[in-house]
C-alpha cells in the first residue's frame, strides 16, 4: 500500500517540479523519469495485489481490487510510452516554432497533473473523491487543448471545458444522491457513506428510487467524459485540436477511467434495483454511440477527428458490453478496455508522426506514407487493422465475445452490430488506404520519429490476442465475477 501512496505522490510532486523546471529537454527527461517510476510502483502494486488479493486501507479511502489494479498498470504504462513519444513530438513542435518554452513547461506539468488525477480516479474508494479527481482531469487537460492558441484550438478547449464541466456537474448531483441514499440506511456512518465498498456492501438496502435517479445523473455525467452520443460533441474537437500526445492519453486513459466510474456506479445500482434498468440504459447509449460514430467516420477530413470518432465507437461498444452484463460480455468489455487503450494510443502516436510528416492533419494531404516513411505507414496500417478488430490482435477477441454474447441474449440486436462494425470498418479504411498506400508524393522527406511506443503497444496487443497471460486472465475473471456475479469461462 506504500505503492499506492507512491503512485499518487510521484506524479503530484512531478507536476510541481516540472512547473518549476525551465530547461525543456531536462523536463522532457524528468517527465519520462516520473512516468517510469510510477510504472514501476504500479507493477509493484500489481504484484502485491496478485499475492495478497484486494487491498483496502488508510481509513478505507483507497481500494484496489482486480477491477482497477490492471487499469492502474495500464494507465502507468500508456502514460510512460506516451511520454516517450511526446518527447520527440514536442521537440519537433518546439523547433517548428509552434509553441513557446513557457507552454512547453506548462505542458509537462499538466501532463503529470493529469496522470495524478487518473491514478486518483482509479485508486480511490470514495465516490466523492472520484468525482473530484475526474473534474481535476478536465481542469488539467483543458488548457492543453488550447495549447496552440489557434482559434480552433481555443474553441475546442472552450467546448471541452463547458460541456464536460456541465456534464460532470450532473455526476456530482448523482454522487450527492448516492450519499443521500446511503444516509437513509441505518448503520452507515456519514463519513463512510460515500465509500464504494460500504455502498457496495449495503447496496441491497439503498432506496431504488433514489438510486435510479442517481444513476441517471452519474451516467450522464461520466458518460459526457466518455463521449457517449449525444454527449460526445466535445470529444472530436478536443482530440483534433490539442497536441497529439494529449489526444493519445485522452483516448487511452481518460475515456477508460470515465467508463470505469460508470461501471462502478452500475455495480452499486444493479444491486439495489431489481430491474435491469441501468443495463438497458447503457446498452441504448452504447449502441447509439457505436452506430452514430461509425457513420460519422465516413465524411471526416481531419485524421485525428477520424480516430477520435473511432474512439467514440469503441467506447460505445464497451458500454454496450457492460450494459449486457452477462459474464461473457463483461469479460469482453474489460478486455476491450485494455486492448483499445493500448491500440488507440499507439495509433495516435503514428498519427502524430504522420501529420508532422505531411505538415497537416488534412486527410487528403496525407499520401503514400508507406513509401515516404515505411515505419510510420506500416504502423498506421497495422494499428488500424488492430483497432478494426482483426486477429491475431487482441481487439478481435473482445469483439468476438461481444458478438457471441449479444447473439446469446439479444439476438435481434446483432444485425445492428453487424452493420455498425461493417460501416465503421469501411469508414476507417476508405480514408486510411489512400493515406498509407499509393506512390511517393514529391517533396516529402522522412522525419525523426520515435516508433518504440507503437511497436511496444502493438506487440502487447498481439500478445494479448494470441494468448492472455494467466494473471490478467484471473483478474478479468475475478472482476467479471464482481460485476456480473458469475465466472465467464
Amino acid at each position: 500500500m506504500i505503492a499506492v501512496y507512491l503512485i499518487l505522490l510521484i506524479p503530484f510532486s512531478g507536476s510541481v517540479i516540472l512547473a518549476l523546471q525551465n530547461d525543456p529537454d531536462r523536463s522532457r527527461r524528468y517527465n519520462k523519469g516520473f512516468n517510469a517510476l510510477s510504472l514501476f510502483c504500479s507493477i509493484w502494486l500489481a504484484v502485491e495485489v496478485l499475492l495478497k488479493g484486494p487491498l483496502l486501507f488508510s481509513g478505507k479511502q483507497f481500494y484496489i481490487d482486480s477491477f482497477n489494479v490492471y487499469l492502474v498498470v495500464l494507465t502507468a504504462f500508456v502514460g510512460l510510452t506516451t511520454a516517450l513519444f511526446s518527447g520527440a513530438y514536442m521537440q519537433h513542435e518546439w523547433e517548428a516554432g509552434k509553441i513557446t518554452p513557457r507552454r512547453l513547461r506548462f505542458y509537462y506539468s499538466a501532463y503529470q497533473a493529469f496522470m495524478f488525477t487518473m491514478f486518483l480516479v482509479l485508486t480511490t474508494n470514495n465516490m466523492g473523491l472520484l468525482w473530484v479527481a475526474m473534474e481535476g482531469a478536465t481542469l488539467a487537460t483543458v488548457l492543453l487543448v488550447s495549447l496552440y492558441r489557434t482559434p480552433e484550438a481555443v474553441e475546442a478547449a472552450w467546448k471541452y471545458f463547458i460541456l464536460c464541466g456541465v456534464g460532470i456537474a450532473q455526476a456530482l448531483f448523482g454522487t450527492i444522491l448516492l450519499y443521500f441514499a446511503a444516509e437513509q440506511v441505518e448503520g452507515i456512518r456519514p463519513d463512510e457513506a460515500l465509500l464504494w465498498t460500504t455502498l457496495h456492501e449495503n447496496a441491497a438496502l439503498l432506496n431504488p428510487g433514489v438510486m435510479s435517479i442517481a444513476f441517471v445523473f452519474l451516467l450522464i455525467g461520466y458518460g459526457t467524459k466518455m463521449g457517449l452520443v449525444p454527449l460526445h460533441n466535445w470529444l472530436p474537437d478536443a482530440h483534433s485540436e490539442g497536441p497529439t500526445p494529449m489526444s493519445a492519453i485522452l483516448s487511452g486513459l481518460l475515456l477508460n477511467d470515465a467508463l470505469y466510474a460508470v461501471v462502478r456506479s452500475k455495480m452499486l445500482v444493479d444491486q439495489s434495483l431489481a430491474s435491469h434498468l441501468p443495463g438497458y440504459l447503457m446498452m441504448g447509449f452504447g449502441l447509439l454511440s457505436f452506430l452514430v460514430a461509425a457513420l460519422l467516420l465516413h465524411h471526416q477530413k481531419d485524421i485525428k477527428r477520424l480516430f477520435s470518432y473511432s474512439s467514440i465507437e469503441h467506447m460505445g461498444l464497451m458500454t454496450f458490453a457492460f450494459g449486457i452484463g452477462t459474464p461473457w460480455a463483461v469479460f469482453a468489455g474489460l478486455f476491450h478496455m485494455t486492448t483499445h487503450s493500448l491500440t488507440k494510443s499507439a495509433i495516435f502516436v503514428t498519427v502524430g508522426h504522420a501529420s508532422q510528416l505531411a505538415g497537416t492533419q488534412r486527410i487528403d494531404k496525407i499520401r503514400g506514407l508507406i513509401n515516404t516513411q515505411p515505419a510510420v505507414g506500416w504502423g498506421l496500417l497495422i494499428g488500424t487493422l488492430a483497432i478494426a478488430g482483426f486477429p491475431p490482435f487482441g481487439v478481435f477477441a473482445s469483439e468476438f465475445l461481444v458478438l457471441i454474447a449479444t447473439m446469446r441474449d439479444y439476438p435481434w440486436l446483432t444485425p445492428l452490430l453487424l452493420i455498425g462494425i461493417g460501416i465503421a470498418f469501411a469508414g476507417l479504411f476508405r480514408h486510411l488506404q489512400p493515406m498509407v498506400f499509393g506512390p511517393l508524393p514529391e517533396g516529402r522527406q522522412a522525419i525523426q520519429a520515435n516508433m518504440t511506443p507503437v511497436v511496444l503497444h502493438l506487440l502487447l496487443v498481439l500478445w494479448l490476442g494470441i494468448s492472455l497471460p494467466f494473471f490478467l486472465g484471473n483478474w478479468f475473471n475475478q472482476a467479471t465475477q464482481l460485476i456480473a456475479g458469475s465466472l465467464p469461462l
Binding site: W158, K159, L163, V166, G167, Q170, G209, S212, I213, F215, V216, F217, I220, T224, P230, L231, N233, W234, L277, V292, L295, L296, H298, H299, L385, F390, P391, P392, F396, F400, L403, I404, T406, M407, R408, P411, L417, L418, G422, F425, A426, G427, F429, R430, Q433, P434, F437, G438, P439, G465, I466, S467, L468, F470, G473, N474, F476, N477, P488, L489
Partner: protein, 705 residues
C-alpha cells in the same frame, strides 16, 4: 502426438518460418550481426558466412529460401492429406494459446486432411514457380513484404483446416483474409489494386462477422465454444435456419458465391499471379471446406429447403459466372470469373447433397458430396495451372489483355502445351480430371428419381440442365482463351517478340498441376477411394459400390446404372488415334509442303484480319444480352465529307456484371449519404450541444420516474 497431426503442425510452422525468413530479406544487417555472433568462434565458418552475406548472393538466397520453406510446408501438407486419405484416424490436441477457458483446439480428421491435400499440391507448384516469377519485383518493390504475407496467408489457411473451436477458427480465418489483403494491395501504386483490396477486405470482414454470428447461435445453444461441444447441439428448426443462413452468407462471401462475389474478380487479378493462383486455387476451397464443416459436421441436421437455396445460388453463380467470364478481355479477370463459375458448380453439388441427406437418401447425398469434393480438388489443380500460365505470359510479355495476344504457341511452345492441359480439363473434356467430377455430378443428379417430393424431383434435373449449359459455355470460354492467346497471329509487337520461359522452376511449377490434371483424370479411383473414406468419416454414409469394380472402374451407383473407365477410354483413344495417324502419315504417305494460307484466295493475311476476343464472344453477348451491364461504343472515321467511304472503325465494349451496378453501388451511396445527413446534427454551436445534453437529461429523468 499422432504422426499426421505432427506433420500438419509442422507444415504450419514451415509456412510461418518462410514468412520470417522473407522478412529477413530486407534485414541483411541484422542477419549479418546474428550470424557473426553465432559463428564468432571459428573463422573458417566465418568465411562462409561472409560469402553468404555478400549482397547479391544474399539477395538470391533470400529470394529462394522462403519459397523452399513454402514447398516443404506444401509437401508436409500433401503428406498429411495422403495419410488421412489412407485412413489414418483423426487426432486432436489443445494448444496453449487463447483466452482462459477458450484455448486453441486443433483437430485433424479425414475432411481437413483431404483439404490439406487440396492445399498442398498448388502450394508446391507455386513454390516452384515463385522464385523465378518474383524476380521482376525485385528492384521495384519489397520482396520481404510479399514473402512475409505469403507465408502468413498459407499458415492462416492451414490453421483454418486445423481449427477445432470457433475462436481459433475465426482467428485463423481472419488471418487468412488479412494476409491476403496485403498481397492484393501489394502493387498499391495502381489505383485499381487499392480499390480491389479495399473491397476485398471489407467483404471479408462482413463475411467473417456473419460466420461469427452463426457460431454465436451454435455456441449459445451448445454452451461451449469448441466444435466438440457444438457437434451434439440441439437446435429448433428456426434457429438452425438462422445459423445456416449466416454461415451460408459468410462462407459464400469468401467463396465468391453470387451475389456476394463482387470482390473476387477485382482482387484476384490485382494480386501477383502466383498469389492469384493460391487465392483462386486454394483459398476458395478453404471457404468450401468451412461451409462443408459447418453444415455437415456442426449443424445437427439439415433441411431440404437449405439444399434448394444452395443449389439455386450455385446454379446462378455457375451460369452467370461463366457468362461474365466469356466477355472479359483481361486474362486474369476472366480466370477469376471462371472461379466464380466453378465455385457455383461445387455449391450446386453441395446443395444436391443437402437435399439428398435431408430426405434420407444418404447414398446419393454422399455421391453428390463426393462430386463436390472431387471438383474442389480438380479446380484447385487446373486453376492453379491457368493462373500460373497467365503469370508466365505476364512475366514474359508484360501483357494481360487477350486482345493483344496471339500466336504464343509458336513462341512459348512448352507453356502453350501445359496451358492446353489446363484448358481441356477446365472445359471438362474426357479423359481429363474436370470431366470426371462433372460426370459424377450428373450421376448424382440422376438419382433424383429416388426423391419423394415431385417438386424436388423436377428441381434437381433443372439444376442439372443449368450445369449442362455451364459446361458447354465454359468449353466455349476456354477454347476462346486458348485460341486467342496461343493460336493465330500475334496481335501486338511485344507479343511477337515473346520468349519461352527460361527458368526451369517456373516450367516445373506449370508442369506439376498439369500432370495432376491428367493423372487424376485417368486414374481417379484411388483418390475417390480416399474421398469415400472422408465422407464416411464425416456423414457416416457408406458409398459401397463406387469403386467396387476395381481400380480402373467408376461405378457410382452400381455397374448396371452407370460406369466409366477413363483408363480404358484413354487406351481406346490412343488406339483410334494411332489408327488415324497411320491413315494420315504412314500408308504411302504423300509428303506435305508448307505454303501461304489459302484463306479463300484473298491472300495478304495479317493479324488485323483475325477475330478478336471480343468478336469471338459477340454472338453470346447478343444472345444473353439481358444479363450484362453492356456499354458499347462504335465510332467510324469517314474519308470524305459525305461519309460514304469509311476509313476506320473503332469498336469498344465493356460487359460488366449487373450486381455491381444494381446492388453494390447503391449500398455504398446510401451509406455516404446517411453519414452526410447525420453530420448535420453536429452543428458546432456549443449551445446546441448543451441543449442535447439537457434534453437527454430530462428524457432520462422522465424515463426513470
Amino acid at each position: 502426438m499422432p504422426m499426421t497431426l505432427f506433420f500438419a503442425l509442422l507444415s504450419v510452422l514451415m509456412a510461418l518460418l518462410s514468412a520470417v525468413s522473407s522478412w529477413a530479406y530486407s534485414r541483411r544487417a541484422l542477419v549479418e550481426y546474428l550470424l557473426n555472433r553465432i559463428f564468432a568462434f571459428d573463422s573458417s565458418r566465418l568465411v562462409k558466412v561472409a560469402l553468404f552475406l555478400e549482397p547479391d548472393y544474399y539477395a538470391r538466397a533470400m529470394r529462394i529460401v522462403p519459397f523452399c520453406l513454402l514447398g516443404v510446408s506444401g509437401a508436409l501438407a500433401v503428406l498429411t492429406g495422403l495419410l488421412q486419405l489412407l485412413g489414418a484416424d483423426s487426432a486432436a490436441m489443445i494448444l496453449p494459446f487463447g483466452l482462459p477457458g477458450l484455448s486453441w483446439h486443433v483437430r485433424l480428421d479425414a475432411l481437413s486432411g483431404f483439404f490439406f491435400l487440396v492445399l498442398g499440391m498448388p502450394l508446391i507448384a507455386v513454390s516452384l514457380f515463385g522464385p523465378g516469377y518474383v524476380r521482376e519485383f525485385e528492384h521495384k518493390k519489397s520482396l520481404a513484404v510479399l514473402g512475409f504475407f505469403t507465408g502468413l496467408f498459407v499458415a492462416g489457411m492451414e490453421m483454418v483446416l486445423l481449427a477445432d473451436d470457433t475462436f481459433f477458427f475465426m482467428i485463423a480465418w481472419e488471418l487468412m483474409s488479412v494476409a491476403s489483403y496485403f498481397l492484393v494491395a501489394f502493387q498499391h501504386e495502381q489505383p485499381e489494386s487499392r480499390r480491389a483490396s479495399f473491397l476485398y477486405l471489407l467483404m471479408a470482414e462482413i463475411g467473417a462477422l456473419c460466420i461469427i454470428l452463426g457460431f454465436g447461435v451454435l455456441v449459445t445453444f451448445a454452451e461451449g465454444f469448441s466444435f466438440g461441444h457444438i457437434r451434439g447441439v440441439a437446435l429448433t428448426p428456426l434457429w438452425a435456419s438462422v445459423a445456416f443462413a449466416l454461415g451460408l452468407a459468410g462462407f459464400g462471401m469468401k467463396a465468391g458465391l453470387m451475389p456476394l462475389h463482387a470482390w473476387l474478380p477485382e482482387a484476384h487479378p490485382a494480386a501477383p499471379s502466383h498469389i492469384s493462383a493460391l487465392m483462386s486455387g486454394v483459398m476458395l476451397k478453404i471457404a468450401v471446406y468451412g461451409f462443408i464443416r459447418y453444415s455437415f459436421d456442426l449443424l445437427p441436421q439439415v433441411y431440404w429447403q437449405w439444399g434448394v437455396i444452395v443449389m439455386a445460388l450455385g446454379a446462378v453463380s455457375a451460369v452467370l459466372g461463366i457468362l461474365y467470364a466469356l466477355q472479359q478481355q483481361q486474362l486474369k479477370r476472366l480466370l477469376a470469373y471462371s472461379s466464380v463459375e466453378n465455385i457455383g458448380i461445387i455449391f450446386l453439388s453441395i446443395g444436391l447433397a443437402l437435399v439428398f441427406f435431408s430426405t434420407g437418401q444418404s447414398q446419393s447425398g454422399a455421391l453428390a458430396l463426393l462430386a463436390a469434393l472431387l471438383h474442389s480438388f480438380n479446380h484447385a489443380q487446373f486453376k492453379t495451372l491457368l493462373f500460373l500460365g497467365a503469370g508466365a505470359i505476364l512475366h514474359q510479355t508484360h501483357e494481360t489483355s487477350l486482345e493483344k495476344m496471339g500466336g504464343l504457341i509458336r513462341r512459348m511452345p512448352k507453356t502453350a502445351a501445359l496451358f492446353l492441359a489446363g484448358t481441356l480439363s477446365i472445359a471438362s473434356l474426357p479423359p481429363l480430371n474436370g470431366f470426371v467430377s462433372e460426370w459424377l455430378t450428373f450421376q448424382a443428379a440422376l438419382q433424383a428419381n429416388q426423391l419423394q417430393s415431385g417438386v424436388l424431383r423436377s428441381f434437381v434435373p433443372t439444376a442439372a440442365a443449368m450445369l449442362a449449359l455451364t459446361g458447354a459455355l465454359s468449353a466455349a470460354c476456354f477454347v476462346k482463351v486458348y485460341g486467342i492467346a496461343f493460336l493465330g497471329l500475334p496481335r501486338s509487337p511485344h507479343i511477337a517478340h515473346a520468349r519461352e520461359l527460361t527458368d526451369r522452376g517456373m516450367l516445373a511449377g506449370l508442369a506439376l498441376p498439369a500432370a495432376l490434371c491428367i493423372v487424376v483424370g485417368i486414374f481417379p479411383v484411388p483418390l475417390i477411394d480416399g474421398l469415400r473414406r472422408v465422407i464416411e468419416n464425416l456423414t457416416g454414409a457408406v458409398l459401397a459400390n463406387i469403386t467396387a469394380a476395381g481400380w480402373l472402374w467408376l461405378t457410382p451407383a452400381g455397374a448396371e446404372t452407370a460406369s466409366y473407365s477413363p483408363g480404358l477410354v484413354l487406351a481406346a483413344f490412343l488406339a483410334a488415334g494411332a489408327l488415324g495417324y497411320v491413315l494420315l502419315y504412314r500408308i504411302r504417305a504423300v509428303e506435305s509442303r508448307r505454303a501461304e494460307p489459302w484463306d479463300c484466295g484473298y491472300g495478304g493475311l495479317n493479324a488485323g484480319m483475325q477475330y478478336t476476343s471480343g468478336a469471338f464472344s459477340m454472338p453470346i453477348r447478343r444472345i444473353f444480352d439481358p444479363v450484362y451491364d453492356l456499354r458499347e461504343t462504335l465510332n467510324q472515321e469517314t474519308g470524305d465529307s459525305a461519309g460514304w467511304r469509311v476509313t476506320a472503325i473503332r469498336y469498344q465494349f465493356q460487359a460488366d456484371d449487373k450486381f455491381v451496378r444494381f446492388l453494390y453501388t447503391p449500398i455504398g451511396r446510401s451509406v455516404t449519404q446517411s453519414a452526410y445527413r447525420l453530420g448535420r446534427i453536429q452543428t458546432g454551436s456549443i449551445r446546441t450541444y448543451l441543449a442535447y445534453s439537457f434534453a437527454t437529461l430530462l428524457f432520462l429523468l422522465w424515463v426513470v420516474s
